[in-house]
């Protein structure tokens, strides 16, 4: 996958199923929102098929008639559905530029090469740390796993409450660097 340059920092949350990606990502969404940032998020639904509830939405009805892109707007919400097998993650990120987000947090998409926080539950999961590129921090479920991770900033996700502000500041600085370096 070819990376492009974007005007906002992008951070991926990567790990196997059940490793705590969603919880950590939601924590970061709240932190950025608290300091007034306009946060964008992308979640890869993975091998579980189409996003949940998509078939119950108004916009899906237009899809069944043959629409490629459909949206429903009401109150303060617009829900847009794209049905296009050629639509890639970079096409999607371009839309976030148009939507003027300040930071983009991505859950999943291991194969993408944006700055990453990797979550490691046990020794088996350590393979991810070896395989993936552009890691900026590793969250472990057990302090002992830290011994096997020497090159990265590590934190214990069970003690995140205590370390959250330090971790958040560290990640934010790292992400800002990744923008300025490109």
């Amino acid at each position: 996958m070819q990376d492009q340059l974007y005007t906002f920092p992008i951070c991926q949350f990567v790990g196997f199923k059940g490793s705590g990606k969603t919880t950590l990502m939601n924590t970061f969404i709240s932190q950025y929102e608290k300091i007034g940032k306009r946060v964008g998020t992308i979640k890869h639904h993975g091998h579980g098929g189409r996003p949940d509830a998509v078939e119950g939405t108004d916009s899906f009805l237009h899809m069944t008639s043959g629409a490629t892109v459909s949206s429903v707007a009401g109150e303060d919400i617009v829900q847009l559905t794209i049905n296009d097998e050629h639509f890639a993650i970079n096409d999607l990120i371009k839309m976030y530029e148009q939507l003027s987000v300040d930071v983009l947090l991505i859950e999943g998409y291991k194969e993408a090469s944006f700055p990453k926080i990797v979550l490691v539950r046990d020794e088996t999961d350590l393979q991810l740390v070896k395989q993936l590129n552009n890691i900026i921090a590793v969250g472990v479920w057990d302090d002992e796993l830290m011994n096997d991770i020497s090159n990265y900033y590590t934190f214990n996700i069970h003690h995140i409450d205590k370390n959250l502000h330090q971790l958040f500041d560290y990640i934010t600085v790292k992400l800002t660097e990744s923008i300025n370096l490109t």
Copy 2:
């Protein structure tokens, strides 16, 4: 509302609740899809509040944590949700440009000034034909209503099967003109 220039034709389907907008719009979606067009659609959810089912979607969970824009991608579907009270119809249409649609069909948004098909169920609904601008055709529920509509192409929506191809060709020509004239 200020209109902008777009590279694809835009057609609105306008009428009171229960006048047949959704059915006619779905018919047009299918017609354009059959001739190989990439169709975009927008539906205004009106006074009924937020789009249906939005609160059951994965992307809505990120909203509750504070995200402004969130999406979930899986298989051939991307579902994107924007939670921004300042996001207007023209901002949304700009996104369809980036998504390279060939034609955009809009259900509702009476106050917008794109070319319109107006649906008229009874004499009371005739007020719409007087009030709205940029009407290119009027669909009536009863032939007698045609007597009151002298300036526009009219069709009976109950006989649409017989007249569909003629209507479709007429609308398509009108929409193409509206692009070339701008």
